[in-house]
């Protein structure tokens, strides 16, 4: 588990042989992968994709290596995680670029899935991606001054570089945090920007992209096209999200998602936090599946901490049990609300949510909270199952849920209206699904049997028997069906894990050693990823040996899955947009971070 980030050695040496001058193994202690010449990046990435099978660019992010010490070597590093869509470990490439006038070639033309991620790196770090077709801010608004993830950027309510803040104890100088953040007084704008006169239509870059897309769209009859903004007020009850679409009649010509309305700079908060403090914050990413979020973060940090943070057996089982229950509860929600989007207003979703409530009862009894579970710790879980909960889980998994999922299946899957509304809608081919870095149910509904629990197993998933679920049409209906399939698959895993739980109902050791309030994380980088209910949830963390992460990045599946939304929608009717969006299953807490 400790060296899962190191990729298959064959390709490594091959890469070094082919590009002897451009590729250097990353020699910093605790680091893996290769540092690549900026000018050679595209060439190497092409070779990776076309010749070595690394066709899946999972994560693109930037790290700001910055110190205000004189003569410090300051630079920004862009980190790429490549995988094979057939499974296996990561191949990590890095390019380094100066903090001022940074230029990195864009990989979006090669891997369209890099689109939003590069925009994010541009937005938050100010890295320029040469050749990016649409380099705009993505999470911050156009009038934002600066790049908020840079180490020298300070938020309006800035207190200190890192927590814990010194004035909390022992002097306890209490004040209301809100008073520190007087609206209007400490806002910064770029030079020449007029916040008062700003109008939404002054977002010229966005509308220009839409227009460009429209020019590429050719129709024999010259009809007038209109731009419609769906949202940002909950376009289909999925959260504060906006889609700017260009319509030709009712047909979508171009669509650009606009997001960031819920942006709180989760990653910056994460870098001010201590390692431990981040755990409850991960709950708030995809707030429908906090257990999986905890899981990914715990894995990433435990990788760096090594054996002293290896969880005991019982904790491993509890983790899997909780993660799979989370998957079921997430998919119940997703299926219910997809039906809402299809126009079956609330009866199906409430039937589904009823079962989810019973799962949340288990979470509440175990962790103290229904949604913000904060259950995982480095080296185990926070507490053992309280009395009676083991029996409850058993009852649900062996008796009620199988029956109820069957009922949901009978209720909806063959309904002719559902089928005619969703079959053949929003089709994504397997090649597109891989190229756009989609993950989870979206990827598997397009016929790519890629599931991290099998492709790159973590925790104890290699002990359970289950097949990767896959569907082949890549349409909304298959994205619905795959979620029903996966709920059954999770039940299968649970049925194996529950009887095997060491200690059973009686309880046992759930933490490796003590649970300290501060942890020491050795310097280095690590990428921990789990198959979350929405897809690959990854945490890229960098430690410099101090009490706080030097870099804390979340590879958010909801966010990256949205890259393919335009592809799904173009050429279809405006009524299908909402359904397509629903079939991706996003949570804005995770999209916007």
């Amino acid at each position: 588990m400790t060296d899962a980030t190191t990729a298959a050695p064959v390709e490594q040496s091959e890469l070094e042989k082919r590009f002897p001058d451009a590729v250097k193994a990353d020699a910093r202690p605790g680091y893996a992968g290769f540092v690549v010449e900026t000018s050679k990046l595209v060439e190497i990435a092409t070779a990776l994709r076309d010749e070595m099978g690394y066709d899946y660019l999972s994560s693109v992010t930037a790290v700001d290596y910055y110190s205000d010490a004189p003569n410090a070597e300051n630079f920004i590093e862009v980190v790429y995680h490549f995988y094979k869509s057939t499974g296996g470990g990561a191949l990590v490439l890095k390019v380094q670029t100066p903090r001022d006038n940074s230029v990195v070639p864009s990989l979006t033309p090669l891997y369209p899935g890099a689109d939003f991620q590069e925009r994010e790196a541009y937005d938050l770090y100010g890295v320029n991606f040469e050749g990016h077709p649409d380099q705009r801010r993505i999470l911050m608004w156009e009038g934002f001054a600066g790049h908020p993830m840079r180490k020298d950027w300070k938020e309006a309510f800035y207190e200190e570089e890192v927590k814990p803040f010194k004035n909390r104890w022992p002097e306890g100088q209490v004040y209301r945090i809100e008073d520190r953040n007087p609206f209007n007084k400490n806002n910064k704008y770029p030079q020449g920007f007029d916040p008062v006169g700003f109008k939404e239509t002054d977002d010229p870059k966005l509308y220009e992209v839409l227009e460009r897309a429209a020019r590429e769209y050719s129709e024999d009859i010259d009809t007038e096209q209109v731009v419609v903004n769906l949202g940002p007020q909950h376009p289909s009850t999925h959260g504060v999200f906006r889609m700017a679409v260009r319509l030709d009649g009712e047909t979508i010509v171009a669509l650009k998602p606009v997001m960031g309305y819920l942006h709180r700079n989760h990653e910056k908060i994460g870098e001010r936090n201590t390692w431990t403090m981040n755990m409850p914050f991960t709950d708030r990413l995809d707030y429908l599946s906090s257990m999986s979020n905890n899981f990914g973060y715990a894995l990433a940090v435990e990788k760096l901490m090594g054996d002293k943070a290896a969880p005991p057996e019982r904790a491993e089982y509890l983790r899997v049990i909780m993660a799979e229950l989370t998957r079921i509860s997430n998919h119940l929600w997703a299926v219910g609300f997809l039906l809402n989007d299809l126009g079956a207003f609330f009866t199906p979703s409430l039937y589904a949510i009823q079962e989810r409530e019973l799962i949340l009862d288990i979470f509440e009894a175990t962790t103290g909270s229904r949604m913000m579970c904060n259950y995982f710790r480095f080296g185990g879980v926070a507490r053992d199952l309280p009395e009676g909960v083991y029996a409850k889980i058993k009852d649900l998994v062996f008796e009620r849920l199988p029956r109820k999922i069957d009922e949901l299946d009978i209720y909806l899957s063959e309904n002719e209206l559902v089928r005619s509304r969703s079959e053949g809608v929003g089709v994504i081919t397997p090649e597109e699904a891989i190229a756009f870095s989609t993950a989870g149910p979206v990827l598997r509904a397009s016929g790519v049997p890629y599931d991290i629990r099998r492709a790159d197993p973590y925790s104890i998933y290699d002990r359970f028997k289950f097949d990767v679920k896959v569907r082949y049409h890549g349409d909304v209906y298959d994205r619905y069906m795959i979620r029903i399939d996966e709920m059954r698959q999770s039940l299968d895993i649970l049925k194996q894990a529950i009887p095997d739980l060491p200690g059973g109902a009686a309880g046992g050791e759930v933490m490796n050693g003590k649970n300290p309030y501060q942890v020491r994380v050795p310097a280095g980088e690590s990428y921990g990823r789990v198959e979350g209910p929405k897809g690959e949830l990854g945490y890229y963390i960098v430690s410099n040996g101090k009490g706080n992460p030097a870099r804390y990045h979340v590879r958010a599946p909801s966010f990256i899955n949205l890259t393919v939304l335009e592809k799904m929608c173009v050429g279809q009717k405006v009524a299908d947009v909402v359904v397509n969006l629903g079939s991706i299953d996003i949570v804005l807490g995770e999209v916007d971070r």
Binding site: K163, R168, W169, I177, A365, P386, D395, Y411, E416
Partner: protein, 224 residues
């Protein structure tokens, strides 16, 4: 046959509809609503029919681990005096993720050593994310998570920073809402105290056997 899928689906809705009446008839004479056992039944694996709870007339029981806003625990000694368990060690303030705990510690004017009881203790409940870390990491079982989730107020500007007085609750309250945890902690403490007493007794015996030592064995520390 086209439409069969719809009919099947509607059959499911119909069973749900009928179930809600069948359940009510089954419970005739017993209270399915507004009673503890009724609510319990509605949350069980066999629940059918009406599932929802009519808050605030009916309330779901919260499990023992439920956490909402911390409170400070104090013991009451034989004379009826409050004894703060908190020793102002500051761990909770250091571990609190949104940094919403402020602790004022003082020094004894004579000895210049810190006084264990905090002068004041603040939690900004607007900022508190109910993570439970303070309770989890407090080494003295002095801060615990509450069960009281109905705390709407009229003035958030004035009332949402709780001070020590507002935060403090007796250990008996804690024992009431979290009996399992309370008993486990008390057993542990009793064991430890017994161990310490045994060690002290052994030391005293050794001291008595040996030539007279300088000072009497230290008294066992007060609870907390």
């Amino acid at each position: 046959m086209y439409g069969l899928g719809i009919l099947k689906g509607m059959w499911v809705t119909l069973t749900h509809f009928i179930d809600s009446y069948v359940e009510d008839i089954k419970w005739l004479g017993r209270n399915r609503y507004y009673s503890k056992e009724g609510i319990q039944h509605r949350r069980s694996k066999d629940t059918k029919g009406i599932f929802t709870v009519q808050y605030p007339e009916e309330k779901l029981p919260v499990p023992e681990e439920f956490r909402f806003i911390p409170f400070l625990v104090y013991d009451v000694d034989a004379d009826g005096n409050k004894q703060d368990r908190c020793t102002s060690c500051g761990i909770c303030a250091k571990v609190c993720p949104p940094q919403c705990i402020w602790i004022v510690r003082t020094e004894d004017p004579v000895t210049k050593r810190p006084v264990p009881e905090p002068v004041d203790f603040f939690v900004d409940v607007d900022i508190c994310m109910n993570c439970g870390y303070c309770a989890e990491y407090c080494p003295f079982d002095a801060i615990k998570m509450d069960h009281d989730y109905e705390m709407a107020s009229f003035d958030r500007h004035a009332e949402h920073i709780f001070n020590k007085e507002k935060l403090s609750k007796p250990a008996s309250y804690y024992a009431g809402i979290r009996p399992t945890n309370y008993n486990r902690e008390e057993t542990l403490k009793a064991e430890e105290a017994a161990k310490k007493a045994a060690a002290a007794a052994a030391k005293a015996a050794a001291a008595a056997a040996a030539p007279p030592a300088g000072s009497p064995p230290p008294a066992a520390p007060t609870a907390g």
